[in-house]
Symmetry: C2
Subunit: 203 residues, 2 copies
């Protein structure tokens, strides 16, 4: 399997954390693929016309995406573990996954907006990103004891990668302040071998 | 079940098309919930701190999201049909779902950018949205015979809603030109009772 990959994409990281958790990391050949909001990658378009990573090319040449699809594919290949079967546990895990990944979508839009020349920024968007981030962190602080108690699944991967992305791209936000339960849970995420093997680096 | 709903959100529409296909539309109480990129909805934040719709509140008071999670929940409740079981058909359906929904994400960003004052627009983003849209439509034209031949599933719902959103918000794009197979397939989507019951309207 060949993965369109980047060391700094938090969506790619979700897939790599899942691969490490499932013992499949050696089955994946990584190809560094650079994508930017304003510049489609022409080499990626045949596999994914949206020019998004991660995109996984299977041995038969077909490509699957997005990160959730790839994670579920890997989970099935490994015999399961990261996706609860149909039932309340699954809907809760998929909702936590959507919360973490929607949070990442928001943070990436926020970063794009923040890094524009001031005259091009939309003030009400910046305020909205901050409000939603505050609401999401408050919710995660409330949910942290449940996160700590539940078996590690796709929801944990998504939320863990989102919080690590805050550390990587929003270090000044100080998200840990007043959130001891979430801080403690994220420390357990960061200590996992799968997280340590996939930490984002500026190079 | 109570659904945070809007008649114009294509993501909400995916859920409502699924509900109609599964015969569950009468089980859903719709609450009109307005969200905008720049203005979080304070009433929605307790159910979804990202302030996104659709969000479904279950009888026990817990809330699930995003649209994919809700569709899979409804599918399971109805005994299945829109999500193939684990295997190649499922990964292909989930990838088609991700293509349609990622296309919608792109179109909504494009519309936000297009509607800004000219001085605030980022020219390279507008070009990038156009390039990715062209690549996605070319890919869908190539895949249209397969779409027509396969059993209707979550991938068809996602792609059908994305093309209908083009009609609704990008009528000048002329996406049908040079794409006879995709046009013919979308005509079959639009003719389904589930699509007719959920068509977006400006009000």
């Amino acid at each position: 399997m060949t993965l369109h990959w980047s060391p700094r994409s938090p969506f790619v990281r979700k897939v790599m954390v899942a691969a490490h958790e499932l013992g499949l990391e050696d089955r994946i050949t990584r190809v560094r693929t650079v994508v930017r909001m304003g510049m489609p990658n022409q080499d990626l378009l045949p596999d994914n016309p949206l020019s998004k990573i991660p995109t996984l090319v299977l041995p038969d040449g077909s490509a699957i995406f997005d990160s959730l699809t790839i994670c579920e594919y890997l989970d099935h290949m490994a015999g399961g573990g990261l996706f609860p079967p149909a039932g309340p546990e699954r809907w809760a895990a998929l909702t936590r996954h959507a919360l973490g990944t929607g949070f990442l979508d928001l943070l990436i839009l926020w970063r794009n907006e923040r890094d524009k020349p001031a005259a091009q920024q939309t003030e009400e968007w910046l305020k909205s990103f901050a409000t939603k981030t505050e609401a999401t962190l408050a919710r995660l602080e409330k949910d942290a004891p449940a996160l700590a108690a539940l078996p590690f699944d796709i929801g944990h991967i998504s939320i863990g990668c989102a919080l690590s992305y805050l550390d990587f791209r929003f270090p000044d936000l100080g998200w840990r302040e007043g959130r001891p339960a979430l801080t403690a849970w994220h420390d357990t995420f960061r200590a996992r071998p799968s997280a340590q093997a996939t930490e984002a680096v500026d190079d």
